[in-house]
């Protein structure tokens, strides 16, 4: 039995920040158990930008955010054990974890659940029709496309306009797929307005709101979906059916707090949201077991998850010491602008406020800070985007990369194309330059690695 002060389950942004918070508050041994082969959680497959605006005041990609979060946790003195799946967690705060190195048992002063979330599935929403190959959730596709170099299909329909769905619409487009439709059951897109602007509008992807996939067609392989308009109860309206041929259906229909481990511990779970039930200090129904991030309640931004993680780390130490804990303000975490951007506005992406800025021909309005004017002006005259994608490594893996600055919007596809056929040698550090983009006037931008990638050791 190994002893530690704080045991954290999950090395995503929540768990990593919790470790930092706990160590800052004076914890002794802090151990993070992570089931995946590396730390960072789902950030590692989120190669797009939009992370870190609050925590670091920068536009980072998911892997870059993960590199920083892991670095901070290690510098703070936390131990991260990857490849460890928790299989038991008891009320006396002992834990058993399986890994290829054996079944390890831990005894902790306090436990923090930072187990993230999972995706709502086709099974859970009971889409009628056949069950062929070619139906996936968006996160699974994100993993296949961005990490494992596998393309699900060439003609894709996306059900649900959650953020991952919209981001994957853009990602798959840039990798050569045709997004035949994004179908949303609500009257407005479910995800952030900035993703509607930059993932859907930028690429002219057909968006069908107040519609749903009413039938899946194809015996062994997906051949088409039937989409229908829905009534106010979200039931398909007969007579509105249309068939869209496709070879992949990607579902982005919601995220559910992942609490398999919490269930084993006997922690009370909200039956509606599947999130943990906690007090204002994020302590669960089992004293000394805390919960943070998406396993507590699904949040809009990783930045919020990190903030909450840090707080919960502090509170877990306070629990051990018997000192005062700090409350979490519930209003934080889901404050971002969602749905259709207001007509004739640009959605500012410089910070999470997502101000909708309008130009009346003379002046800008709707911005909460002066930076918004500059952004809106550029967006009106020569819109620019950061390009995020992957390049192949010589050993056949994918390295997440981005441009070091925003490039003209119309050149995004060219940049992605120019990276299609190059391969890079590992090891490589986050920030290393992969390719310099030039035009007649010289260097216009550089493509940089947005993650660390170590060399594969020969087997």
């Amino acid at each position: 039995m190994e002893k530690c002060d704080i045991l954290i389950i999950g090395a995503g942004p929540g768990g990593l920040a919790a470790a930092v918070g706990a160590r800052k508050a004076g914890a002794g041994r802090v151990v993070i158990l992570e089931r995946d082969v590396s730390a960072g959680g789902i950030l590692n497959q989120c190669v797009h930008d939009g992370f870190g605006l609050i925590r670091y005041n920068e536009q980072l990609t998911g892997p870059e955010y993960a590199v920083r979060a892991v670095d901070e946790a290690l510098k703070a003195g936390a131990e991260i054990l990857c490849g460890h799946q928790v299989i038991r967690i008891s009320e006396d705060k002992t834990v058993a974890a399986a890994s290829r190195y054996g079944l390890k048992r831990f005894s902790a002063g306090a436990i923090i659940l930072a187990t993230g979330c999972r995706e709502r599935t086709r099974g859970a929403i009971s889409i009628p029709g056949s069950r062929p190959a070619g139906v996936f959730t968006a996160g699974v596709i994100q993993n296949f496309v961005n990490v494992r170099n596998i393309m699900p299909g060439r003609r894709v329909v996306i059900l649900g306009s959650g953020d991952i769905g919209m981001i994957m619409a853009r990602r798959l487009t840039l990798e050569g797929a045709e997004i035949r439709a994004v179908v949303e059951v609500l009257p407005e897109p479910a995800g952030l307005s900035r993703n509607v602007s930059q993932c859907i509008y930028d690429y002219g992807i057909p968006l069908h709101c107040s519609h749903t996939v009413s039938r899946i067609i194809g015996k062994k392989k997906l051949e088409a979906v039937e989409i229908s308009e829905v009534d106010e109860n979200m039931h398909p309206i007969q007579g509105t059916e249309q068939i869209i041929e496709c070879d992949a259906l990607v579902l982005s229909v919601g995220l559910i707090p992942e609490n398999e481990v919490a269930e084993i511990a006997g922690v009370r779970i909200d039956t509606r949201s599947n999130g943990t039930v906690t007090d204002e200090f994020l302590q669960t129904s089992v004293p000394g077991i805390f919960s943070c991030g998406n396993s507590h309640r699904v949040m809009d931004l990783a930045d919020f998850v990190s903030q909450q993680g840090e707080l919960v780390g502090y509170n877990a130490v306070a629990y051990i010491n018997g000192s005062d804990m700090k409350p979490w303000e519930e209003s934080r975490g889901t404050s971002m602008a969602k749905g259709f951007p207001e007509p004739d506005t640009v959605t500012c992406t410089l910070c999470p406020n997502g101000c909708q800025i309008r130009f009346d021909g003379e002046k800008y309005e709707g911005n909460h800070c002066p930076r918004g004017v500059k952004f809106a002006e550029e967006e009106r005259i020569s819109p620019k985007r950061m390009v995020t994608t992957t390049v192949k490594t010589e050993d056949g893996r994918l390295l997440p990369v981005r441009t070091d600055r925003a490039v003209p919007k119309e050149s995004v596809r060219d940049v992605v194309q120019s990276l299609k056929n190059i391969s890079v040698r590992t090891p490589i550090k986050c920030g290393d330059i992969i390719l310099r983009l030039t035009d007649a006037s010289g260097e216009t931008a550089a493509v940089i690695a947005s993650s660390d990638m170590y060399q594969l050791l020969p087997m």
Binding site: Y101, S126, G129, P132, N149
Partner: protein
Amino acid sequence: MFAISEMSSMRQNDIIIIGAGGIGCAIARELSRYKLSITVLEKECDIAAGASGRNSAVVHAGFNNRPGSLMARLCVEGNQGFEDICRELDVPFKNTGKILVAFDDEDIRILKGIIAQGEQNGCEGLRMIGEEELKRLAPGVSGIAGMYSPHTSIFDPFAYCVALAENAAVNGVDFCFDSEVSSICRNDGGFIVRTADGRDFGCSILINSAGLGSDRISEMAGVSGYRIYPCRGEYFIMDKVADKLLDIPVYPAPKPGIGGLGVHLTPTMHGNILIGPSAEYIDDRDDYSSTAPIMDKLITEASELLPAIERRFIIGNYAGIRPKQAPPGEGGYRDFVIKEEETCPGLINLIGIESPGLTASMPIARMVRDIAEKKLDLVEKDDFIAERKTPPRFRDLTEEEQADLISEDPEYGEIMCRCQKVTKREIRNAIENPLGVRSITAIKYRAWATTGRCNGGYCLTRIVDMLVNEYGMKPEEITYRGKGGELFSGEVK
């Protein structure tokens, strides 16, 4: 039909079995005791692809069937021997009993009739139970009374069919998948069977256990007059969190003439309650679609039986198709046909083997053996291997046993399917299955990965990674359920 002169390098067998469902696998396993050359031809990529893998996973007691019928006799006999065969082949089995629920006096009358019928069939221990006992045996279940059947059980039908087939294969039976039969001709007292891709197989005895296709196979062999009416049953699968709501199968009192047992709730060996099936005649023999109206009906009827069941527990659905001989207007059941055709000596037809076919599979296999014995000299092998051991299943072990297992084999420490706690070693065993089946469903049904609440969200990427990086498959070669069901279009770059 084709001319003999066209024949290419033909493989000669004593026996060909068409169809690798539970019945075909049971027959193959039973006949593998003898010195015979046997080939099983299956049109799908794996065993149990039809009704055998798409049912309620219940070992029936035999009270539902007409006294004197083959269905009744073989079901009761099958029930009595089922635990033994499961023990012999290491298949998950649990004697749960079963309850038929009465909501009114008419139902009570029907249930009393069923007890009388069951007793005639030789079912033991059937009895009426009052409301109090009903609530004790199945807390939370509605109804005013019920019928209790002590010998009904649950089992894992995939594991059962896999075990039969693998045991048959170990004992020398050859399984050919993706081998749809396209024509059959008589030859020198035997048969030549040609597959759609042009391979020929010769045999002296032809066993037709083709389920939904059994009427067509019979016709190809020259015996017409049978007709299969496909009757679809849809199911829901419930999350493990609902498992504690029920530990005994509960059925409604059957309504006469519906041709099914009514929508019921069944606990499973894996901890996921099943709801279903509906009974709906369809035209298409391989349309396993689920439909919106039936989905609503399943939930409504299930919550009448067990009010605590809610839609939010649903994690998946599936459908099976019964190979019924009773046409839509007639309803109910027609008895199994299991016989050598007088007009076509050597052809053993098994037609209309719907429920309780899996329960009856071993007695059916023995019946087929008895028929074959009249045609062929059956000599027992000295080296027949009757027992089969399934490798350990991590999640069924104690923590101490798990620790020991990991120290013996580190891959037992890598949990790849987090919902069902399936380890990398178990996935590897499934990938390297003795029948050589390579599809995601092959892994699903053998290791039970991808079957949980995340529908493979966690493990599918990891399984595919293994297939690509450790087994050298290209992404576009990976199928969900065999050829034509490719999961991916290729590499990104």
